[in-house]
Amino acid sequence: MSRGVAIALAVAAALLALLLLLPLGGLVWRALSDGDVAAELGSGATWDALRLSVVTATISLVIAVLLGTPLAWLLARSRARAARLAASLLDLPLVLPPTVAGIALLSAFGRSGYLGETLGGIGLSLSFTTAAVVLAQLFVSAPFYVRSAYAGFSGADPRFEGVAYTLGLSRWRTFRSVTLPLVWPSLAGGAVLCWARALGELGATLLFAGSLPGKTQTMPLAILAAFESESGIAGAVSLSVVLLGFAALLLLALHRVTATAGAYR
């Protein structure tokens, strides 16, 4: 690679990295100058919202992985036209503005939604519950995992699996020792995206689950409430920095875990 090309690449990379990181830096700078991050960290309400956010986003991730991995595998291994169509359709929740996603969820599972009446008949009402928070997060974040896992499975040559079968490996053993190491980076990357998106979910949660401290008010909803309050931007950025800090810690940990687990093959 010539020196000129190398410099051009470095400039391009640095430009985007700066574009992504500078606003985050601005947020931290603003929180430190106007806000009071320490006060937010000392408040029980902040911890309630943070705990709810981390717990619900993690449950969403676990569900997305448990159900999304088989889905992505089946879609990738199926030759049917319908499978490719389904794979495209499953990306659609990504297109919806979050508020519309919330209305969509209500239209299906809400009290007057088309499944809501059936659910209500068996005494199950989802809206305004913590389960609704998880469902909203799952709806907007699972496509990230499925899309990434699907790309991974599609890229893993099925002939490796075929060879493993002819060598007498069981289906499970084949998946674990042949397929999984091949697709691991895609699964791990998808999981990180999925979890991060669930953690930041706002619009769909607000509409479908409401906003009640301790029950449905996740960190993004608490930030929205702070923004509307007397403390205004200062309070909102302080809370945002708390969320950012925890997300950074957890993402770093997640990267470590996936990197070490990926190294084991």
Partner: protein, 271 residues
């Protein structure tokens, strides 16, 4: 738009041809901008709850002052105040939250605070539902939506419930237990009724006045109304002052009344 107009063309002579072409396209897109003898345009940044009533009032103003053009933009008071504090180019700000107007006054960015109207908190229920009183609601299996305590509508809901508690402690307690969500804006509180997810919502009388199929249950009269404070933004067009005065005119006040708002004199100053 105004900021874009300040693009200085002074270096254009040395600019290469493609840059000139880009400037030319920009000039076309911005056409008319910087035109000296245009009518003065007054921009009002107004709280979302004024979305229905304000265009009617402004239409009257524009008839009375044919030389002036008025532009309206609506958002939550907090959002608008933040935008103005960050340099948004508005002339008049009408806040549904007096605190947000006070913020701009304290920062020296605004002047002439004027209460132009007020809104009474009520409990909205679907007209078709059989519930006609707070007691009915307290006894029924219902979900209630209120505003978050950080927004005026939520704060007033708490004050109203405290007044209910004075007279009927059990009713107030039952109502509090039925609160399913504390929303960040009155618009979202109202949407809970529209989407059928809640059976009652603490909103303003003006929201019920422009809605289809909603009825208002009254709250204790001691509950204070929510005041709308208008302020002139620093560097406002002179016509913005005329518009502010117009908001208090009998014509404007009558229109406020039609849309479920309180007249500013009887409802607010007299309190």
């Amino acid at each position: 738009m105004r900021a874009a107009c300040r693009l200085s063309p002074s270096r254009r002579l040395r600019a290469p041809l493609p840059a000139l072409a880009v400037l030319g396209v920009l000039a076309l897109l911005l056409g008319g901008c910087g035109d000296g003898d245009r009518e003065p345009t007054v921009t009002i940044a107004a709280a979302s709850s004024l979305r229905h009533v304000l265009p009617d009032i402004v239409a009257g103003f524009e008839r009375a002052y044919p030389g002036v053009e008025v532009e309206l933009r609506f958002a939550g008071s907090q959002v608008l105040a933040s935008q103005i504090a960050e340099g948004a180019d508005d002339d008049l700000f009408i806040s549904a939250n007096p605190l947000q107007a006070a913020r701009l006054l304290d920062a020296g960015l605004a002047a002439r605070p004027t209460v132009v109207t007020a809104n009474v908190l009520v409990v909205a229920v679907p007209e078709a539902a059989p519930r006609r009183s707070l007691r009915d609601l307290a006894l029924a299996d219902v979900r209630i939506a209120v505003g978050a305590p950080s927004v005026p509508v939520g704060l007033l809901s708490r004050i109203a419930l405290a007044w209910v508690e004075q007279q009927q402690p059990e009713t107030a307690e039952a109502l509090r237990d039925k609160i399913a969500t504390e929303d960040p804006s009155v618009r979202i509180v109202l949407s809970r009724l529209e989407l059928g997810e809640a059976d009652a919502a603490f909103v303003y009388a003006s929201d019920v006045a422009v809605s289809d199929g909603l009825r208002a249950i009254l709250l204790p009269p001691q509950t204070p109304p929510n005041e709308y404070v208008a302020v002139l933004i620093e560097g406002a067009e002179p016509a913005a002052g005329e518009l502010l005065a117009w908001l208090l005119s009998p014509n404007a006040q009558a229109i406020f009344g039609l849309y479920g708002f309180l007249p500013s004199v009887a409802g607010v100053q007299a309190r």
